[in-house]
Amino acid sequence: MKIIYITLGESVINTHGVNMPKHIISGLKYLATVELRKKGHNQREIAEELGMDRSTVSHYLNGRNVSWNSIEIAEVIKNTCPKDFLTLTYALLKDEDKTRTIIKTCLDKKYVCKVKNSCIGCGICVDACMMNSIVLDDLKARIDPYWCCGCLICVEMCPTNSIEIKEVEVDGNNRND
């Protein structure tokens, strides 16, 4: 087995050691479980959305069956930039739908998404967006800010530099102003 070290702030994830990917996954799912509960989802809904059984959801909500170290690393992953959070989570889960749920649940940031008229409608952003937040409308990309996680993968890949994404305060003020 290849040992991979990913440096994340102060922590080091050693995929060969204690923090096996599934432990980190449980940490991420723990964070999502807590957030979903806060948003009023019941245990059955949470279990369905994250692909767990209800007893695990119940354990997580009672702070059991999850190592505090895993949660700590999950917190570190969550606090990396959105692109790293997204790509790491997907690399661990290998499931687009669950990745989307976790990112959407844990990421409490808001974005304004602007597509300039120079967009040629090539659809590269549609293909690239792991959050499925982009569609083409009359040969122009349209980004649903609700699903945008701010990873900026679309911005990087756009051949005509037509996408602008800015983080705004949750109250709606532009943080970049």
Partner: protein, 351 residues
């Protein structure tokens, strides 16, 4: 998401798999080397190989090259191509069928009601896209008369057979024998072939043929109109048709109607033109030609263009090694463009 390129012979396809599968297909045979795809490509992924070299020499290469690392499969090249050599498919469906993509308005039609099936368009059509199938009336139904050979008087000389323009008379030749000292056993007229021209009657040295043309004597009252009808049908192969207007112009009965994708103007600088003929060879529409002087010593134009046949694609301009040709597109006939960037891109190929 991955972009891959496949080359089959001289045809190219670039494919991207992802949320929706996109495939750009290039058919070398249809390409006119006009360079509009290269001009409109927003990511400079297309390079058109030198037109002159392509038309003057045998080349193994495709007329264009697509860099799959640059191509974003937006479809602009496919939308502007006047020769339909490029086609972008999204989820297996050509963007020519998708409402949101602009399409060039171009068409060529032959009205079968008006067409007389003379085949002028078939002969003139530069890409050979027109097929005229016609069924001619039975010749025997267009003539009327009587003919009879008096076999007793006939000496079987064969003069009538030799002179008959319709090959209607046949003698059964034989070698004369002592028991039957004749040179032919029989002579017959095929009345389906005979046109009652009376040449045989006039030529016969022994006046053995009695023949009369009823039409000469009484007019064609006994010819039925339906018997002289020419049945046919015309077909324009939409894929290879370049909408150049040759059929419309050459048709003697105005049965062909052509809508061209571009409007514009071509200017030839006679001073600069060296008469190398590359443009003449490159033009997919046969709009250019070298006039032949009527008499030696007459000075004609070096190069002749008839814009009736030109679609302003710019292939000649690209082909000219000395930049003696200027093709200006003033209007692009296309369906409404909703996207600002596409509108700008279409504008950019006017010049």
């Amino acid at each position: 998401m991955e972009t891959t390129e496949m080359i089959e012979g001289k045809d190219i396809s670039v494919e991207r798999t992802g949320a929706e599968d996109r495939k750009l297909k290039f058919k070398n045979e249809l390409c006119g080397s006009c360079g509009l795809c290269e001009k409109i490509c927003p990511v400079t992924a297309i390079e058109v190989n030198p037109t002159g070299a392509m038309v003057r020499t045998e080349q193994d290469a495709s007329k264009i090259e697509i860099d799959e690392s640059k191509c974003v499969l937006c479809g602009m090249c496919s939308s502007i191509c006047p020769y339909d050599a490029l086609d972008l498919e999204i989820e297996g469906k050509s963007i020519k069928e998708l409402e949101e993509y602009p399409k060039l308005i171009k068409s060529s039609e032959i009205d079968d009601e008006a067409c007389i099936y003379c085949k002028a368009c078939e002969t003139a059509c530069p890409p050979g896209a027109i097929t005229i199938a016609r069924e001619l009336p039975d010749r025997s139904k267009l003539v009327s008369g009587e003919i009879e050979i008096d076999k007793e008087t006939c000496v079987k000389c064969g003069i009538c057979e030799e002179m008959c323009p319709a090959d209607a008379i046949e003698l059964d030749y034989k070698f004369p024998t002592s028991d039957d000292p004749t040179i032919a056993s029989d002579i017959n007229v095929d009345k389906d072939k005979c046109v009652y021209c009376l040449v045989c009657k006039k030529a016969c040295p022994v006046d053995a043929i009695k023949a009369v043309c009823r039409i000469c004597s009484y007019g064609d009252y006994d010819i039925k109109a339906e018997d002289s009808e020419i049945i046919g049908n015309s077909d324009i192969d939409a894929e290879t048709c370049v909408n150049c207007g040759w059929c419309e112009d050459i048709c003697p009965v105005d049965a062909a109607k052509v809508t061209k994708p571009f409007e514009g103007k071509v200017t030839i600088d006679e001073e600069t033109c060296q008469g190398c003929e590359t443009c003449v060879m490159a033009c997919p529409c046969n709009a250019l030609s070298f006039p032949e002087s009527a008499e030696s010593g007459d000075v004609e134009d070096k190069l002749h263009i008839d814009e009736k046949y030109c679609i302003y694609c710019g292939a000649c301009e690209r082909a000219c090694p000395v930049n003696a040709i200027d093709v200006e597109r003033t209007k692009i006939n296309c369906t409404p463009i909703k996207s600002k960037s596409w509108e700008k891109a279409f504008e950019s190929v006017k010049d």
